[in-house]
């Protein structure tokens, strides 16, 4: 199977936070994808200079319609263009779906723990939306760590999927009264315990994923049940 570059026409742009946008594309003949997969995006200047980046798909495909969330990286080359300059009806090239490991399907038949750091919520949001779309009753528990309320993606929607959501803030007090700070081993107690037969997906910056995955292993989770995806700080 060849992954061809396809024209993606911008159908909608939604403000998620001051520095991030959901971008919805219409992609003729999109072949479909699994929750958790990503696409490559290619931008090309008039003289042929081009750059590529990867973005997680944020939702199940709606026929030929797909969406990503782009967080602006201040010194980045691609994300500032996508957040600040892209307009509806623009056409950019993309290809996918890519990645067959960090994926969830309703047929998994196990409870699921989701652990998100910052924009690491995006592929996990795709799983949550896919669960709802499929009418699955799989037990989902989400632990979501962000800097503060202003940086929370999908804040309104997350409460509407009928799953357990715990949000913690690294730079201010959390809704539960938890003091500010990065993820700690005890934060993971809101997830499925090691003996629940759950699968755990962890996505976020490297330091976050390392800390969360190591704590889960220390708490007795079989490493084979933990799937990770890490965003480097230079995702630009």
């Amino acid at each position: 199977m060849v992954l061809r570059w396809l024209p993606g026409k911008v159908a909608d742009i939604r403000v998620e936070t001051p520095t991030s946008r959901t971008i919805v594309f219409d992609v003729p003949d999109w072949a479909g994808h699994l929750a958790g997969q990503h696409i490559d995006v290619r931008l090309t200047a008039e003289d042929g200079y081009s750059v590529q980046r990867s973005y997680s798909l944020a939702a199940p495909a709606d026929e030929d319609r797909i969406e990503i969330l782009v967080q602006k990286v201040t010194d980045g080359e691609v994300s500032p263009f996508l957040v600040d300059d892209l307009l509806p009806d623009d056409v950019i090239e993309l290809r996918g779906p890519i990645g067959g490991w960090f994926t969830w399907e309703p047929s998994l038949g196990k409870p699921v723990s989701l652990v998100a750091g910052g924009s690491g919520i995006v592929p996990l949001m795709a799983m949550i939306r896919a669960r709802t779309q499929a009418g699955s009753d799989a037990g989902f528990k989400l632990l979501y760590s962000v800097r503060g309320p202003a940086d929370e993606y999908y804040a309104e929607e997350l409460g509407k999927h009928g799953i357990e959501v715990t949000t913690i803030y690294t730079r201010s007090e959390s809704p539960s009264g938890r003091p500010p700070g990065r993820i700690r081993p005890e934060d993971l107690s809101v997830l499925w315990p090691a003996d629940a037969g759950a699968r755990t997906y962890v996505c976020g910056p490297t330091g976050f994923v390392e800390a969360a995955a190591q704590a889960l292993v220390d708490q007795g989770h079989d490493p084979g049940t933990i799937r990770t995806e890490r965003f480097g700080p230079s995702g630009g």
């Binding site: 200047a45 090239e93 799937r227 480097g232």
Partner: protein, 198 residues
């Protein structure tokens, strides 16, 4: 033929010697499919199994006793970052192959934690690959594959398996972890062989 992106000029700070579609980073991003295995140096072993099933095993002490090299190489990740002039210390795979009787064409690399990747034996010999245990002068950190990882810098970096524990040599090609999940079987960054079919 690419579609021109309206209004996009680009920053154009790419170094001239980057493979197509890559951008330069000065960080060292980490990509792994699961938790980082923590393997003590004294527990680490590396085994080459030839096509007849004969095994040669080296311990951490054996590894340190072998003549080491200090390659400085450019590395290219399929997720599009490239990092130039990275400095490593380790032992050439040629040194290990001297002890192995084989005419096999293919290798599967196995890691602690269950990861696998595949590549032709000819890409592992003649000074093209190392088992490295130091990075920029320090012990290789577990996040980056310590205590010992494979380094095959002329292929995309997923071929440079972290936490390496063995090679299985065979006359037949067996796709590894990412190679069965849609990524390219060979992975030459200069031909932009990212995904199956590229």
């Amino acid at each position: 033929m690419s579609i021109v992106t309206r209004g996009f000029r680009g920053r154009r700070d790419s170094a001239p010697d980057l493979p197509p579609g890559q951008y330069l980073t000065r960080d060292f991003p980490v990509l792994s499919a699961g938790p980082t295995p923590r393997i003590k140096q004294d527990d680490w072993q590396f085994t080459i199994t030839n096509e007849a099933g004969d095994k040669h095993t080296w311990t951490w002490r054996d590894l340190l006793a072998l003549p080491s090299e200090q390659p400085t190489v450019d590395i290219h990740c399929v997720t599009k970052w490239s990092k130039l002039q990275t400095s490593w210390q380790g032992v050439s795979l040629d040194t290990f192959f001297e002890a192995v009787d084989t005419g096999a064409d293919y290798a599967v690399v196995r890691s602690y934690g269950g990861y696998t990747t595949n590549l032709p034996v000819e890409d592992l010999v003649d000074g093209k690959a190392w088992l490295v245990y130091r990075y920029e002068g320090d012990d290789l950190h577990p996040e980056h594959g310590g205590p010992v990882r494979l380094l095959v810098p002329h292929l995309y970096f997923w071929k440079s398996a972290k936490w390496v524990k063995g090679l299985e040599l065979s006359d037949d090609e067996q796709p590894g972890f990412w190679e069965t999940l849609g990524y390219h079987n060979y992975g030459d960054p200069w031909r932009e062989q990212r995904y199956s079919g590229d």
